[in-house]
Amino acid sequence: MSPRRAVVGLLAVLATATLAGYAAPLEQPVPMPAAQAPKVLWLGSGSCAAMGCHNANGLSGEQRSEYTTWVSHDRHARAYEVLYSVKSRTISANLKRPKAAANDSLCLNCHVHAAYDKTDHHPHFAKEDGVGCESCHGPASTWVANHYRNRPTPEQKRQMGMADTWSLPGRVRSCLPCHVGTQDMDVNHDLIAAGHPRLAFDFSAYHALMPHHWQDVKDKKSGASPWARDDWDAAAWFVGEALTTQAAMRLLECRSASRVWPEFAEYDCYACHHRLQKLSWRQERDFKQREAGSLAWNDWYFSGLPLRTFADNAKAGSAVKSIDELRKLMEKTVVPKAAAGKRARAVADLLDDWARFLCDRNFSEMDRTDARRHLTAGAVEQAIKNTGSWDEAAKNYLALVALSQAPGDMSPKVKEALSRIRDYLRAPEGVHAGSTHSPSQLLQPYKLLQESWSAR
């Protein structure tokens, strides 16, 4: 999904939240299917589709209509089909792939499930189902028969082999391999140049936009489930950002071990992809921090925004410092491969600690307000100086939306300001707005936001 779509849709999402919450323990990522014992079989989404189970043909999001919701509304169900499109065929041809996209494990690892060609499938498994139930919940052979008997707890389900999609970190991590990437699931610059859309994942936005086949109340009303927390929306943004950045760091580490280096997908698309102009603002504002003509590392994953909102926290402080040091390496004219990889790994480890801290935290009204003020003040400053990338502006916008999901947050004034920011960041049909982005254009709406928030 394009960030633009996410931007558009997110605004419409008004989720509810209430009390204080239970913070789910931070789980280690679900083991990759490749690591599973050989007996584990992928059964296919059809095995969940009994009418008495998850295909009750109810409305979108109704209990027992999980399959129904997915198959009729969720674009994950079309993930395989898209491999037959003209676009996919073009990508495949450009890359001179030996197999058609629909049979190419490079594609299937995300468009069906991870490690597609290294795992075992039941004869009824149909890759045509795209990203189906098991792609997130885990291969079902070990648990399909008993995951509903005697109302097992999340912990018991986990022991049966189901993937954790309940806890916040578990849910975030079920998205990351495809939406950020791993060594074998890497939408790198080769793939993007061949025609694949760039990945730009934002957990809060993507999660809000995905047709929910579960009940929000189980996430967001404490007591409704073992993992529910009243601060779910705010926590989702903080934890989502931390784990996403961490995944991007791990990916960077993998990339740094490859011969394909520098990996341009690490960088800000629009730092290079813009028309050359006689008077370029880039010359005035971009080269204060880095060498002229060097590549600009992307701000989508590495701006460190959420960390910076915790200015006084030592953990956040050391992570920010580490990221800034890594940025210096990544923006050298000749990018030092080994040093960058090593530092990326160190940052990823630091972020582990940081994510654990966030998961355990109970985000207060104050936390949200502070974060919003901080983000808005930063945006105003950038608008005045006319600095900052489109990526950073878009992430900033998405953050503000994610942090304004409590009842009463979206006053008409706030809504208007956010809409204006969104409209500016959105691309006109066919061209990407990032190429012509000028932060000063956002000064007015951000000032409006600042006013309405300080008024309260």
Binding site: H189, A194, P262, E263, F264, R275, Q283, G430
Partner: protein
């Protein structure tokens, strides 16, 4: 358009004047290749213009333009007996952008660049002066006697070469250099100079033989393409800081548009041509040879720069790659994506324009269809090898690229040598010269045909020209079309030029590709915004639409 030949110089900056281009801030010591005391050193350079080692007591004097102004301003009284007209300096002084090469360093753009790059002063910075003035900045200045000030910009000495003299000193017999000899009031002394061979004038005395197409192109290329070995190169950092992009370079067009302060060979009188040892074929083919050889030399200089970069400089240097492969806006339907990729998608490609016309030159040099096929195959093999290096990792691996591009350069050098031999042979008879311009023109048109984007479904993808390649093609077309005027008859040439110039579709093409470089000593800024804008909007199909109509109007086969 007319054709012309040089007496002299061309050097560093043309382009900045040019369209989207920029001042060649760069770096070149430009004209210098030939001017320097030490032999020029591209390792792989096949025709290393060996300048004899300077004798200990000899000095290379970089004279100022005032040294030339007395003779070369007002025109000679008896022009028929002179090699040149004697009116050259004012043309350079009043109309040529090389004159303001230094001045522009002090313009806001130059100052901004200095600031971004952290330079103390661009006006004293060797990496700038090396192309924006005639001085030899930095260490090299220590070995020579520099009397020219940077304020002159790119002046006479930059292209014509320094004066090799022995300065008067105690116990030493001084010796006059070419400056005094070629303009001596003593007729016998002057005639003795006249009788010298052009290569002797250059090698022994330092006067660059700009009539030699190879030499001329190298002199221009040292700034307009750059010379990494001499630290004369517009780096990506410089571009990022604001240096206008150096455009594709075609030596005939850039020479003609300087503006030309010299006469074409065909305009010179018989005795002068004889004295200079030009044959009928040299005269007839002056422009054609310069185009064919210049094209190869430009490509060779490009390869040499890559080789040198890989050998001895920080790697990668982004300025060696195609600017517009990255620098275009992202659109959902862009011609770049539609045309596909020669190699691995997502890896910065070479500056394709530099090789755009090589096929034409190869064809020109081939004696037979078989030979032509062999040459094209060899060319493609070399190109593919280089492409493979670039596919293996972004920008290519240093060691591999150095090897491949230096081998490629040597091959190109062989072809240049063959071309020169054929030129020499043409002077002694044979049919090489026959219809050369018409043959080349047909080749240019055929090349355009091969470049047309595939439109029918299922048609094989092929090379589709970017802005700079399309420009190379259009410039070559322009030069050659006028050259096809029968027998170089002045009236005919004028008629052909006018026919092309008046054609409304040619005018559109001219506008579309910014073929006419901006005239006058205006600021570089003028024209830059416009040319960059056109570049950004360029679409190959649009180019072909204009070009096809030109062919139709001129009754040339499509």
């Amino acid at each position: 358009m007319s054709s012309q030949l040089p007496t002299l110089w061309s050097k560093r900056l043309t382009c900045w004047a040019g369209t989207h281009l920029g001042l060649a801030v760069a770096v070149c010591l430009v004209g210098t290749i030939c001017l320097r005391a030490t032999p020029v050193a591209h390792e792989a350079e096949p025709m290393p213009l060996q300048i004899a080692p300077q004798k200990a007591e000899e000095t290379r004097v970089y004279y100022d333009f005032e040294s030339c102004v007395n003779c070369h301003s007002k025109g000679f009284e008896n022009p028929d007996k002179q090699i040149c007209r004697g009116a050259e300096v004012p043309i350079w002084q009043k109309e040529d952008k090389h004159r303001i090469a230094y001045k522009v360093l002090g313009d806001p753009r130059g100052l901004q660049m200095g600031k971004i790059l952290g330079l103390k002063d661009v006006r004293t910075e060797p990496t700038c002066l090396v192309c924006h003035s005639s001085t030899l900045p930095g260490k090299q200045a220590a070995k020579v006697d520099i009397r020219v000030t940077p304020e002159e910009g790119v002046s006479c000495v930059a292209c014509h070469g320094p004066d090799v003299v022995v300065l008067p000193a105690k116990g030493v017999e001084d010796k006059l250099g070419w400056l005094d000899r070629h303009g001596s009031a003593n007729a016998a002394f002057r005639d003795a100079w006249r009788r010298k061979d052009r290569s002797e004038k250059e090698i022994v005395w330092g006067m660059t033989d700009l009539w030699d197409p190879v030499k001329r192109t190298q002199v221009c290329a040292s700034c307009h393409i750059g010379n990494v070995a001499k630290d004369q190169f517009v780096t990506h950092a410089m571009y990022a800081a604001g240096h206008p992009p150096l455009p594709g370079f075609e030596v005939v067009t850039f020479s003609n548009q300087m503006p030309r302060h010299w006469e074409y060979l065909k305009d010179k009188k018989e005795p002068i041509l004889k004295a200079l040892k030009f044959t009928a074929a040299d005269i007839e083919l002056e422009q054609v040879n310069l185009l064919a050889i210049g094209t190869m030399v430009v490509f060779q200089e490009y390869l040499n720069n890559i080789t040198e970069q890989a050998k001895a400089k920080p790697w990668p240097e982004l300025a060696h790659y195609d600017c517009f492969a990255c620098h275009h806006e992202l659109k959902s339907k862009s011609w770049q994506q539609e045309r596909g990729y020669a190699g691995q998608p997502g890896r910065p490609p070479l500056r394709e324009w530099s090789a755009a016309l090589v096929e034409i030159s190869l064809r020109y040099s081939a004696h037979s269809a078989e030979e032509n096929t062999r040459l094209e195959t060899e060319f493609r093999t070399h190109w593919r090898a280089l492409q493979a290096d670039l596919d293996a990792q972004p920008f290519g691996g240093k060691a591999e690229v150095q090897k491949t591009s230096s081998r490629f350069s040597m091959w190109v050098g062989d072809q240049v040598r063959r071309l020169k031999e054929q030129m020499a042979a043409a002077g002694k008879g044979g049919d090489f010269a026959k219809d050369a311009s018409a043959r080349l023109l047909a080749d240019v048109i055929a090349l355009a045909k091969r470049w047309r984007p595939a439109t029918a479904p299922g048609e094989a993808k092929r090379f589709v020209p970017g802005f700079d390649s399309a420009r190379q093609l259009a410039w070559a077309f322009q030069v050659l079309y006028v050259e096809t005027a029968p027998s170089h008859d002045a009236a005919k040439i004028l008629e052909y030029s006018k026919r092309l110039g008046d054609n409304q579709h040619w005018q559109k093409l001219n506008d579309y590709l910014y073929l006419t470089l901006p005239k006058g000593q205006t600021k570089i800024e003028i024209g830059l915004a416009d040319s960059l804008d056109r570049l950004g909007k360029y679409e190959p199909l649009q180019f072909f639409e204009h070009f096809d109509r030109v062919l139709k109007d001129l009754n040339l086969p499509k």
